[in-house]
Every structure is written in C-alpha cells, then in structure tokens.
Symmetry: C2
Subunit: 97 residues, 2 copies
C-alpha cells in the first residue's frame, strides 16, 4: 500500500466554507478512484503552536492508483479552484506501509 | 480519533541505518502508549519531485493520548538522538477523523 500525505498552510483568504467544500469535493471523488482504500482530510485542531493548517492522508493499493488519483482531471480541477489559490506552503510524502 | 501527521526533510548526514533505527525505536514504543490505534512511518518513495523525505502518521483515541505520546520521555529521547539532529524542516498537523 502507498500512503499519500500532504500538509498545507493557507493564506488569509481561505475560509471555513471553502475548506469544507474542498473536503466535500475530495471525498465525493473517492468512489471514482480505483485502488483507494482510505481518505481522511481535516484541519489542524490547534493543540500545538507552529503547525501547518490542513492535512490530507489517502491510502492506495499501489503507486499506480496513487498516480491515477494525482492526475485525475476531477482532482486537478478541485486543486485549481479550491486549494492552490490559497496555498502558502505545501509539504508531501508518499510512503509504503 | 486524533491523527498526528509529521513530515521531515533530513540533512545530508541522515543515513538509511539511522532512519531504520528511528522507525524501529518509534515502533517499539507503541505498546507503552495508551490510546494508540495505528502507527506507520516511512520514507518517501520518490514518485514526485520536491517531496519531503519522511512521514510519521499516528492515530490516537483522543487528544490526551496524542499529548501523552508527544511528551513521553522515551519519545523525547528518540527525537533528541535520532530525528532532531538531522531535521532540516518539519511540518505537522493533528486533525480529527
């Protein structure tokens, strides 16, 4: 299995509403994704100073299904409308587990 | 449940051996941690340019069990010996799922 992890910091114009829409649209994409095993996104709960703002963790059967998700037109469209315009910093890893 | 996610980039002196020891010691700590539900750490597989080097994703029953892990002397000792001396950048989020 491949776990895809991405953390974001947002600019000041990211709203709760946009963030909810981002999660809702990503989650709705799930059934279209072959090889997706788990998908959990959420905002930082504020326990620790200096954290990033938001996380996505998605588990895929293999590297091919992760890459299909990454390049899926629906996914690219969600990124272009909802996350990229408000991303200050982004950190990602894909690892085997 | 609280998911704790942390991504690292390492300096040039982080070796495969040190990284394996880091994972082994973190994993060995698991049974001592009340409320830990899942723990998976690993290095980036190299599918995507510009990624961070390493990820830890740990799922806890609640915020209290995450905070107990964070502050656990054994965990702090592992960090002090194995990750902090080789950390160039670190990004973290805790989120509910």
């Amino acid at each position: 299995m491949i776990r895809h992890v991405v953390l974001f910091t947002w600019d000041e114009e990211m709203t709760d509403e946009l963030e909810r829409q981002f999660v809702a649209e990503l989650t709705a994409l799930g059934p279209e994704l072959k090889g997706l095993r788990a998908y959990h996104a959420g905002r930082d709960v504020g326990l620790v100073e200096g954290n990033f703002d938001f996380a996505v963790v998605a588990d895929f059967e293999d590297a091919a299904s992760y890459l299909a998700y990454r390049d899926h037109p629906g996914h690219q469209d969600i990124i272009a409308r909802l996350s990229r315009p408000h991303t200050k910093t982004r950190a990602a890893v894909q690892y085997e587990f």
